[in-house]
């Protein structure tokens, strides 16, 4: 099992990584948009946690690029502080956006994700 977290806040990504590693789930951290995209292009993750508000190359840019490249059937959870409209999810269903969760990331939300998407 391998999770990818893309968020510019290093403390958050570190905390998330620790959470998953305590649960014996491998977690890859990326703190920059373009790097995140290339990670997705290069390997297959069991789950991708994607922050929308990343400076310079945003989560939306990544999603659009994935759509353009027809890299589909991923498992992506979007985290956003602002309201993300349901129509916007519809645009990225094919890529594999499963759910939109509001920030801040909490332990409860991580537990919920683990239970729902990472059960062996």
């Amino acid at each position: 099992m391998k999770v990818l977290i893309i968020d510019d806040n290093e403390s958050i990504t570190e905390a998330v990584k620790d959470f998953f590693e305590f649960e014996n789930i491998e977690c890859k951290i990326v703190n920059e948009g373009r790097l995140g995209l290339s990670e997705i292009e290069n390997q297959k993750f069991d789950l991708i946690l994607l922050d929308i508000a990343i400076p310079s190359y945003t989560g939306i840019d990544i999603l659009n690029e994935l759509k353009r490249q027809r890299i589909e059937k991923q498992k992506i959870i979007i985290f956003t502080a602002s309201v993300f409209k349901s129509e916007q999810i519809d645009d990225f269903l094919e890529i594999g956006v499963k759910e939109v969760l509001t920030k801040p990331i909490s332990l409860d939300k991580l537990e919920y994700i683990k239970q729902k998407y990472l059960k062996t």
Binding site: I12, S82, P104, I105, L107
Partner: protein
């Protein structure tokens, strides 16, 4: 007034017709008189002729002439005496033998002429007395007639012919005694009387000297004698003349003649009729005059009364059509003039007030336009200010959002790590101090989060950009969910937390926000109840809203009701002097309390904002003495 005019005209016409009928009646009367006189005249004439015929008969049968061989001289003397005895009109008597040679002639004129070819001789020779009705030149160069008769001898054989020459004066004598005599022409009746032979020649005329057509008895009068005189003379009648024909009466018998006489009476009625005509004319003229006067009066009446009134009517009509500009000037009778003047005064008043009105309206319009212009400027200014405000609001909102996010972001990893450390198996490795530190850190992080959220919420409420998503919410379920959600707060102080729901059905609200309100109120209560024996009650009551308070929005509610939520505690309560400022931002009763009870002082302000966004009310029940009692109302559904 106008009705009288046709009456006058009608009566004039009727009287005219009646008088004209009378004129023809007068004419008929005249005619009857003249015809009767004419018939009498002709009768007289016949009597005269008959007398002459009798004289002739007596002479011709005189035995002296017929039988006895009396000497001629004696015979002449006899005849002359006879003529003188009978009638002076007998000019002469002649006796002719069968050869036409005169035997005896009383006129002493030479009887050398042979009368064999004369009509009177030939007729008498045929054996009957004869009257030659065409006048001829007879003895003494006079005009007269031949009366001839055969003289028989004792053997009843014609021996000789006797000729009695009668002057035309005998007709004159007859006429002289009648209406138609010359001398009567000075009177008002003037007649030309002519005796006409049926061959057309005029035998006698009463006014020969005045008649250009007749200079002597022989002149032909080109008046054709009618075959049917009665029918014809009527046609000849004119207004001033009467033409009457009277044929010779038929009792003149005992002799033959060469025709018949007819009396032609040609009467000039002009003198008779003129008086009458003058009367009629005068009458007619006066009728016409009256008629003309009537017409003139009518015209004047129309001019003086009707026309001014019509003029006035038209003027009034103009006024009724809102046309006040035309001056009203009507000349006429006093009353009409007075009316006209009143109308004119009225028109001027109306016109001037209309002008005033128009001027005022114009002024007002100008003022209004100016005011409008100002308003537009103001509106523009307001709009631009509004726009600026909106932009600034949005900027504020964005700024707040950014601040909130930026403040919360560092908290996230802190909170994550603390929670991870506190969690299950990992916490086992911690000592008492570490565990305490983590608990305090965690509690403060949560408080910090609440403060950030509250600040954000209260400002959003103030900017009116706080989203409220109303839905139909079951009251019982809602209270139940909140009770279980709020229970953890009671753990630390072991507070008795109960709910009393006296309402059923639903309410229309944003359950998340109302939960937030309940959380704030309950959280406050938790802070204020005593450490031991704390009690917090959530009560829900239904309340009828009196109809006078009903708004239109609530009309679809068959029974408009509101739901009252009450959060009561047995804490220290609120002093009445502190109630007023309680719902203000950052308000706390005193600094000491703040230290004791914590809190941002934003909770109640948020509650107020949320409840008011729902159209409800929030207040403190000051009558509650056991602690604090917060109440808010919502519309039930």
């Amino acid at each position: 007034m106008i009705l009288i005019i046709p009456l006058i005209i009608g009566s004039i016409i009727i009287t005219s017709i009646l008088s004209l009928q009378n004129i023809s009646g007068v004419r008929a009367k005249f005619y009857d008189i003249f015809e009767l006189s004419g018939i009498q005249l002709m009768n007289k004439l016949s009597i005269e002729v008959n007398e002459i015929a009798e004289d002739l008969s007596r002479l011709s049968t005189n035995p002296i002439l017929a039988n006895s061989p009396t000497p001629i001289n004696y015979q002449i003397t006899l005849l002359q005496r006879q003529i003188n005895l009978n009638n002076s009109e007998y000019l002469a008597v002649s006796v002719y033998d069968k050869n036409g040679t005169a035997i005896i002639d009383t006129s002493d004129e030479s009887p050398g002429e042979n009368v064999l070819q004369e009509e009177f001789f030939k007729q008498a020779l045929a054996g009957e007395p004869y009257f030659d009705k065409n006048p001829d030149e007879i003895a003494y160069n006079q005009t007269g007639f031949h009366f001839s008769a055969p003289i028989y001898d004792s053997n009843k054989v014609i021996k000789s012919i006797m000729d009695l020459e009668v002057s035309i004066n005998f007709i004159n004598n007859v006429f002289n005694n009648t209406l138609f005599h010359d001398e009567t022409k000075n009177s008002s009746l003037y007649f030309i009387s002519r005796l006409i032979h049926n061959d057309g020649s005029v035998i006698y005329a009463t006014t020969q000297q005045n008649d250009p057509q007749v200079t002597n008895g022989q002149h032909n009068l080109n008046l054709p004698l009618p075959g049917n005189p009665i029918a014809d003379y009527k046609k000849r009648n004119s207004q001033d003349s009467i033409l009457i024909t009277v044929p010779e009466s038929e009792n003149a018998k005992g002799y033959r003649s060469d025709g018949n006489w007819t009396l032609l009476l040609d009467g000039n009625l002009s003198t008779v009729m003129s008086d009458y005509n003058n009367t009629v004319k005068g009458f007619l003229i006066s009728s016409i005059l009256i008629l003309v006067i009537a017409v003139v009066i009518t015209i004047i009446a129309v001019r003086k009364i009707t026309s001014p009134i019509t003029h006035l009517k038209n003027s009034a009509l103009e006024l009724s059509k809102d046309n006040f500009s035309k001056e009203i000037m009507v000349e006429g009778l006093n009353e009409v003039k007075d009316l006209s003047i009143s109308l004119e005064v009225m028109r001027r008043n109306i016109e001037s007030s209309k002008k005033n009105l128009i001027r005022k309206v114009r002024e007002r319009t100008r003022d209004l336009e100016r005011a409008n212009e100002e308003l537009r400027t103001k509106e523009f200014q307001v709009n631009s200010i509004n726009n600026e405000l909106r932009i600034s609001n949005r900027a504020k909102e964005e700024f707040l959002s950014m601040i909130s996010h930026e403040l919360k972001t560092p908290i996230t990893p802190m909170k994550l790590y603390i929670e991870m450390m506190q969690k299950g198996n990992k916490s086992e490795n911690l000592n008492e101090f570490q565990r305490k530190a983590l608990t305090i850190m965690h509690r403060n992080i949560l408080k910090l989060e609440t403060i950030i959220d509250d600040i954000f919420t209260v400002y959003k409420l103030e900017l009116n950009s706080f989203p409220i998503n109303k839905e139909i919410t079951n009251i019982v379920d809602f209270v139940e969910n909140n009770m279980s959600g709020l229970s953890p707060l009671m753990k630390d102080k072991n507070i008795m937390f109960i709910s009393i729901v006296n309402a059923t059905g639903s309410m229309f609200c944003d359950p998340v926000r109302i939960s937030q309100v309940l959380f704030n109120l309950v959280n406050n209560a938790v802070d204020h109840v005593p450490e031991q024996g704390g009690e917090i009650t959530i009560r829900v009551d239904e309340e009828d809203v009196s109809t006078s308070k009903m708004s239109f929005k609530d009309n679809d509610n068959k029974h408009s009701r509101s739901v009252i939520f009450t959060v009561e505690d047995n804490g220290i309560g609120i002093q009445p002097e502190n109630i007023d400022g309680l719902f203000k931002k950052f308000y706390q009763i005193d600094t000491g309390l703040r230290r004791k009870f914590g809190g941002t002082g934003l909770g109640l302000a948020i509650c107020k904002g949320i409840i008011e966004s729902h159209g409800g009310k929030i207040w403190i029940d000051s009558s509650y003495r056991n602690g604090a009692s917060f109440k808010f109302s919502l519309n039930s559904y």
